[in-house]
Amino acid sequence: MRRFKEFIIEKLVFLSGILVILFVCLIFVFLLKEGLSFFKDVKLSAFLLGKYWYPISEPPRFGILPLILGSLFVTLGAVLFAVPLSIGAAFYVAEIAPARIRDFLKTGIEILASIPSVVLGFVGMITLVPWIKAIFHVPTGLTALAGSIMLGFMAMPTIISISEDAITAVPRQYKEGSIALGATRWQTMYRVTIHAAKPGIIAACMLGVGRVIGETMAVMMITGNAAVIPRTFLQPVRTLTATIAAEMGEVVHGSAHYHALFSIGIILFLITFMINITADFFLHRVRTK
């Protein structure tokens, strides 16, 4: 009887593990199921490189280049300012802050991570957006810049916490060796520790990018959602995610537009898949070192 129970539990536990793989496959299969039929009518190159996204005009145009560039613009802006600040903060939290302050800061970073994106979008709408409009004298504050700033802050908790782990994981001998040679703590940090922690920090930045590309609600609320090819950061843009979220509600089920939105989903899935696998590769290198 006891053997039998062991056997059942072992199988149950194993099955739960396998289910995780099944879910990933399910997600991909169902995206393909709804998205692939779109390419019967539209060529992949026309989809990816088409300059016009007019899904409900007659005839409809399904070019997602402006959406891809919109996502890219917002992501680039967010990364440019989030990465250096986050790495700096990770060093402060991991190496410099006294224990008490460290706990306090970590709690603060956790709270930043936990604020729902729709709340950040709302606050961005009523603070950041009017500020940008006033400072830069642009017709609307709903711009790529607003999205970049907001998303930068949303990526920071990810980048900070994973970088911090990487910095803490650097063997003590490296740091002690450097200090023993007469280097100051600061010299040790930027000459020794950062190099030893590099794979982890790269992984952290990549996961931050993944977070930014996939972010939906805040972006939809503050970037203005104009599907045009962006030229500056002070211009409304529309991202891949926001397009799905904004149009899925009104789309005719089974229409070309419906399938096109799933195709955008496939592209997002593939992008984040690639980013996560590469990041995992870098993290794995930290562990095996």
Binding site: I27, E34, P116, V118, V119, T184, E215, L261
Partner: protein
Amino acid sequence: MRWNNLISVAAKEKIAFGALFFITLFILAPVVVVLWIIFKNGISAINWEFLTAMPKEGMRAGGIFPAIVGTLYLVVGATVCSLPLGILAAIYLSEYAKENALTRLINLAIVNLSGVPSVVYGLFGFSLFVVFLKFGASIVAGSLTLAIMNLPVIITSTRESLKAVPDYFREVGLSLGASRWQTVRHAVLPFALPGILTGTILSIARAAGETAPILFTVAAFYIPHLPHSVFDQAMALPYHLYIIATQIPNIPNSYRYGTALVLILMVLLMNLVAIIIRSKFRRKYKW
């Protein structure tokens, strides 16, 4: 004279540490600002009617009761589905799995699942639960979508807390003649429980604030009554905030802030509980 020689290395270190300190403050400042703005402007909207009444006059008056209830339903549904599965999967990975290709594949799947954008979960939930399984836009469809999204969070945190239990706990159990499962059940799980609890609460908080996965799977613009069954559509707090912030003009701003305040208080409260559990047990269990 070169700039390098102008200031001593000690002074340089002071400047660098000071700069890093201010960078950290700069990152955390928006947290305080956001919380303060919402609290200051939202507190005036909060009263008994706001929390317990139906919306009135096209959501420009009345309360947000159905949205609160809807979010509670979704969160409970998601947790009921993902918690057992997540814990079992983590037990497999930490206690049973060998270092082989299958285990690597499972780990890769977890990594990938945690990186899928929330709006893509929404698309997936729509095509699988709403259309293919014919649940329609409903609480079941939304809960299941959120459950799959939460799964990697629960698995990862559970696995970490199981791995933090020292190996000699397991060796003692096995050497006393206990079976694999008895050892896990009595010598490992109880000590990992605080960590599992913390991870679970954090995943619940995350599910409560998510909007994109429920956009097409459950969320209703406005329903004048509470859901009757799990196959009904429901309103939800984050979606409600999105709607009244962007789609409906002439709503008193205090309503928007009030809704945001209720949502953020819910999320923060859960985080606070998680933090307290963690710090309490970190002191208790030390090996």
